[in-house]
Assembly symmetry: C2
């Protein structure tokens, strides 16, 4: 048994961290207009490098049309699925549980009424967020499809496939998407308001604490009170334990070595969020967004990432 | 000090090995004709996946023109650089030294005379190989350039740059390129005869033994005898110690875990050999080839590879 290997592993981690920082900037690169598919693939997708595209969708009618009046007129009576939480955190760790939101069906008018209330009124009811990531734009919000594109043509060419899902997002400024990563290439367009992303590259995995907790759901009762109810299967979920807005460095000192990148995506802009990048998302009140999930390629980058995961987390 | 980490590292290596094999085939994929640049980039370059292109250069006059008579006529009196070794191994470990070939200047006619001799006559003189990898096709062999292309157009589009070097290769069937890897994307075209490659993916690095030895050169004296002469600087060179044609598994048992892939490239065919793939090359007598080196992108794959190198080899 070669004890020198222990020290050696730490040295290798430091090397990866340094090498990555030498190769990748500490900000999200920007372009004014979409790139041709090959350049986009070569410079960003292949390199797993985020990109902000400023004039991504200037031809979309949604940019001028989408507001509360238009939604009330076109889809006011449509039944939609909304998540509700008492604190804005859906799919996040709370009191030793991995807590998922309540999913509630309401009309779009009902949802917009809440969005129109002032913050104290809203918070009494909970934090509402349209975020059903099952291609809901093609389903519950299909009337709105004509105001956008069913895919991002240069993205579809670059990725070599149609989007796997097209999602519509709208919600409260208190709604927060906790830090996580997806097995998807993501083209994320803000239509109104703005989204604030905190990003961490896949190579920061060794510095991101995961914890396993039993899953639970927020459940609202008739009187409007909310409680946390354990899932029946009691299956544990492994999730990121740290809040990048207020990281507990005492508890997770390794996180100091991570390099969070902040980027704000404004109306009309698109973020290319590469597969496996960790992301935490906040937004302005009533922010509206549309995102396209394209299948990621499971290649050598994935194999290396899995290797890093095995090495970093003995419980994985 | 967490001793369980030691076992854990081995487990992670096994995981990487298994994952890689699940994602990549144990043979080189083939296509009949060149792909469009984006498809080539998405499916092969970005994924670091080798590819054999059967009808790669069917328009090249070289395919029909290049033979000894033509070379004698066009460049017979041209001075060219040839490497000479007693055993065919240039840049390889021999008797505890990293031994480089003698570089000799001769006319093309002189070189062809040797190629035309029978094997016993040739071997008395040594093993001759034109393999000067400094874009020699554009330099010493520039007269031949009109018979090929100065770049591979779909490759140049995919890689987003002109080739960094275009090399001409011709030599003895005894000449062997020992296992190594390059920091280049490689488009390798066989014009006459055939080349036999043994390939190993970058993820097999943990199973490939490296050794450091002082550098030396083969030096021929006037009477035709050859000796190994140490380099003046005595600098040590780290090189792969194993011969994949006859691997010493007793000495390097880990090599059993590597997965060598054999591929033969015939006249008119092209191998896309991705950056960082280990390769060992043999050839038929008088085989002629042209290769294009394109700059590799130093991205997350490179950072991960360096990480693996740090982890695998405490001396690196």
């Amino acid at each position: 048994m070669d004890l020198s290997k222990l020290h050696h592993t730490e040295k290798a981690y430091e090397h990866l961290r340094a090498e990555y920082r030498e190769l990748y900037p500490s900000h999200v690169e920007e372009v004014t207009d979409p790139l041709d598919p090959l350049t986009f693939h070569r410079k960003y997708v292949s390199q797993n490098r985020p990109l902000l595209i400023k004039n991504a969708v200037k031809h979309w009618p949604a940019l001028t049309k989408w507001n509360h009046d238009y939604f009330r007129e076109k889809i006011g009576s449509t039944e939609i699925t909304v998540t509700v939480t008492p604190n804005g955190y859906a799919d996040a760790i709370c009191n030793g549980r991995f807590v998922m939101p309540e999913e509630r069906t309401m009309t779009m008018n009902g949802f917009l009424d809440i969005m129109d209330e002032d913050v104290s009124q809203r918070m009494e009811k909970g934090v509402f967020y349209i975020q059903k990531q099952n291609s809901n734009l093609k389903d519950e919000f299909s009337t709105l499809l004509k105001d956008v594109d069913v895919d991002i043509p240069w993205g579809t060419k670059a990725f070599g496939c149609e989007p796997d899902a097209v999602n519509f997002w709208m919600g409260d400024e208190k709604a927060i998407t906790s830090m996580h990563r997806d097995h998807y290439e993501n083209l994320y367009v803000v239509v109104r308001g703005e989204k604030h992303f905190i990003l961490l590259p896949p190579t920061d995995l060794p510095y991101i604490p995961y914890e396993s907790h039993p899953s639970a759901n927020y459940v609202y009762s008739g009187d409007g009170s909310c409680s946390i109810v354990d899932s029946k299967d009691k299956e544990k979920v492994s999730w990121i334990a740290i809040d990048p807005l207020n990281p507990d460095i005492q508890l997770y000192p390794q996180y100091k070595k991570a390099r969070p990148i902040q980027v704000t995506v404004k109306a009309g802009e698109m973020l290319y969020l590469p597969a496996l990048w960790f992301h935490h998302v906040r937004q302005s009140q009533g922010c509206i967004a549309v995102n396209y999930w394209y299948d990621m390629v499971f290649d050598i980058k994935w194999a290396y990432y899995q290797f890093l995961q095995q090495l970093s987390d003995p419980t994985s």
